[in-house]
């Protein structure tokens, strides 16, 4: 494999990582608070659709991000109401929400989406850093969206570990009655986590659109939300590890496009590449069987007993 091919592999891997990373961070925060949000695939699709609507009518990156974000917040509020407020079964609600959201975007897509625009998020080499041989090209010559997503990783980590909010959010997921008996509302902290989580997922969808000419295509999220569920388990609910896992998945997917450069890969059926991230998630769950969900995940909070 040539040097250029290797660099390309990593560059493409980093770009493929971004939407998945955002969705994974969203899922991670929500699960930390004890809510398993299987609806993030749906959040991504909605975020993508509305970002495209904004972009096609204003031609502005900011507008796309803003509408994607706003839709994420709204979706999050609805989901929080369902998961936390009403205490509905999270897995079933999430799955049905995804079916619903994919259907809605498909139905609306035929009607509203217009033609695409030019590049919205141009590359932005970071001065000095991008001059480092290899590394610079691989990691410091990307669009603002990539930097933004990666920058969110330490933010999330700090949010969870270094703030009072994070402390209480973690408690809501591990032992909600402890949080409750300390006088805080479990519902509030869980709802906020669901809203943040859905918003990040919607941003992931928006990024998907903004990174590719601002056009929504029905079905473009292609199961990323589901992969994110696996990523979170493999990353054991740590944002930093989620970054690594997503990067690894991104690079594995990018490898598929480098078969021409690597003879050994030529004979691998395409389907293997498609199945790989999912198989990896299964394997990770099996190997990391001690990977333990926050104890209260999927259990709705219905108030203090006894």
């Amino acid at each position: 494999m040539s040097e250029a091919a290797f660099i390309a592999l990593v560059v493409v891997g980093v770009q493929l990582m971004v939407p998945l990373l955002l969705a994974s961070l969203g899922e991670l925060i929500s699960e930390r608070a004890g809510v398993l949000n299987i609806g993030i695939e749906g959040c991504m699709a909605l975020g993508a659709f509305f970002a495209a609507v904004a972009v096609t009518s204003t031609d502005s990156l900011i507008a796309g991000l803003a509408l994607g974000l706003a839709v994420g917040v709204l979706t999050g509020i609805v989901l929080a109401w369902l998961y936390v407020g009403l205490g509905l079964n999270q897995i079933i609600t999430g799955l049905m929400f995804t079916i619903l959201a994919l259907g809605v975007t498909a139905a609306l897509f035929e009607r509203y989406t217009q033609s695409a625009k030019g590049t919205l998020a141009p590359r932005l080499p970071i001065p000095l850093l991008s001059d480092i041989p290899w590394i610079g090209e691989m990691f410091f010559d990307h669009s603002i969206l990539v930097y933004g997503a990666v920058a969110l990783v330490p933010v999330c980590a700090w949010f969870l570990k270094g703030t009072w909010w994070g402390l209480r959010t973690t408690s809501a997921g591990e032992n909600p009655s402890a949080l409750d008996s300390a006088g805080y509302s479990v519902r509030l902290y869980r709802s906020i986590a669901v809203v943040i989580g859905s918003t990040l997922a919607a941003l992931g969808g928006a990024v998907l659109v903004l990174a590719t000419s601002g056009r929504f295509v029905s079905g473009m999220t292609a199961g990323r939300g589901f992969i994110a569920l696996g990523v979170v388990v493999v990353a054991r609910w740590y944002p930093g590890r989620a970054l690594l896992v997503c990067l690894l998945i991104g690079i594995t997917q990018a490898l598929q496009f480098q078969v021409a450069a690597i003879d050994a890969l030529e004979s691998v059926p395409v389907d293997v590449w498609v199945a790989l991230p999912y198989l990896a998630a299964v394997l990770a769950v099996v190997i990391g069987r001690r990977a333990r969900y926050p104890s209260a995940t999927t259990i709705p909070w219905i108030g203090q007993k006894g």
């Binding site: 770009q15 498909a106 217009q114 590049t119 590719t212 079905g219 990018a254 395409v270």
Partner: protein
């Protein structure tokens, strides 16, 4: 030609004068009618025919499963359409079932050709249509190979099956017709819609030195535009079906117009006029149906070079028209371009290439 995005699927042809107002045609497709690609082109052709002849036309897109096609077809057939079109090469079985049940409805399926067995068992009201998609990509490949500085071309393909494979392989063969040493890279991304994956595939090709990329996928093509824009050297994209120039004027070299709209228009016109003969097979190719015509080069003329365009016109286009150059096919009788890798293995001189 752009389409009116906000129009509903049915175009009631009240404009056309002495048309046959009772003739109804319905089309069913996988893609949305505004997908700026395959289905969009089909929709445009059908609308044109409807307008011209004053027909009732309905188009339903975003169908997924074979039983959905079957039910939808049944629903249309029982609501009294005269011509029912399955815009999906894989739905012959479903089309046949509807044709059997509704002998008064002409049921067409394509792009596909019948196998000899099928021809024997089909009901008479069943018809097939096909567009020889390799013709256009062959000529595009030849044109690209003439461009200064192009020594490596690529193709981003959706799924691995004949209607897709022949496009990519034809592209490679066409290029090798001009430059036998040209490099060809292709990837199957197994999605019509995942734009990010298409972008990643294209990006990987570009980093490997590809100068021009053919899109043999569907709406995911927008990802390829983005990758081309992002490249540090000029890279061009050749989408298919629908002149998408405005979507990405900076990177689209030209579009291979498989003249789907023309073919569909022609088929509908024939059907509503004198009617299709029993067991009709309408096979459109470059010579008989302009399939594979390239969209205007516009500002890319410069990049291609005026003299190259001229050379291409005489050496390729005219040769094909005159029959001196015979582009191989994919049908049962001529399956040469149907398999992966054929475009780089076949010898172009056998088909009339000069080099």
């Amino acid at each position: 030609g752009g389409s009116d995005d906000s129009s509903s699927g049915s175009a009631n042809g009240d404009g056309g004068g002495g048309g046959n107002g009772d003739f109804k045609v319905a089309l069913m497709s996988e893609g949305a009618k505004n997908d700026k690609s395959f289905s969009n082109s089909v929709y445009d052709g059908a609308s044109r025919a409807a307008k011209e002849h004053g027909l009732d036309m309905e188009f339903v897109g975003s169908l997924v499963t074979p039983d959905e096609f079957l039910r939808q077809g049944n629903s249309f057939a029982s609501s009294g359409v005269d011509l029912l079109m399955f815009i999906h090469g894989g739905m012959a079985v479903q089309a046949r079932e509807v044709a059997r049940r509704f002998p008064d409805v002409t049921v067409c399926v394509g792009p596909v050709q019948p196998t000899p067995e099928e021809e024997k068992t089909d009901p008479p009201n069943m018809c097939y249509w096909d567009v020889q998609q390799q013709d256009g990509s062959f000529m595009a490949g030849a044109l690209v190979a003439m461009m200064p500085g192009v020594d490596h071309i690529g193709s981003v393909n959706a799924f691995e099956f004949a209607a897709i494979t022949r496009q990519a392989e034809g592209f490679a063969l066409g290029a090798r017709c001009i430059n036998p040493d040209i490099k060809f890279t292709q990837t199957y991304i197994e999605t019509w819609t995942d734009t990010d994956k298409a972008r990643a595939a294209a990006q990987s090709m570009i980093s490997a030195g590809v100068d021009v990329i053919l899109s043999a996928t569907d709406s995911a093509v927008v990802g390829i535009y983005e990758a081309a824009r992002d490249a540090s050297k000029p890279v061009y994209v050749i989408p298919s079906y629908f002149d998408a120039y405005e979507q990405a004027p900076d990177v689209i070299l030209t579009t291979i117009l498989h003249n789907l709209d023309g073919a569909i228009d022609d088929l509908i016109t024939q059907a509503q006029g004198e009617g299709l003969e029993d067991h009709a097979v309408l096979d459109y190719d470059f010579v008989n149906g302009d399939v594979g015509k390239l969209a205007p080069f516009r500002d890319k003329k410069k990049a291609i070079g005026a003299e190259n365009i001229e050379r291409w016109q005489t050496e390729i286009v005219d040769a094909v028209k005159s029959g001196d150059l015979e582009i191989p096919g994919t049908v049962t009788t001529d399956p040469q371009l149907g398999s992966v890798g054929s475009g780089t293995k076949l010898d172009p001189t056998e088909f009339g290439c000069k080099a």
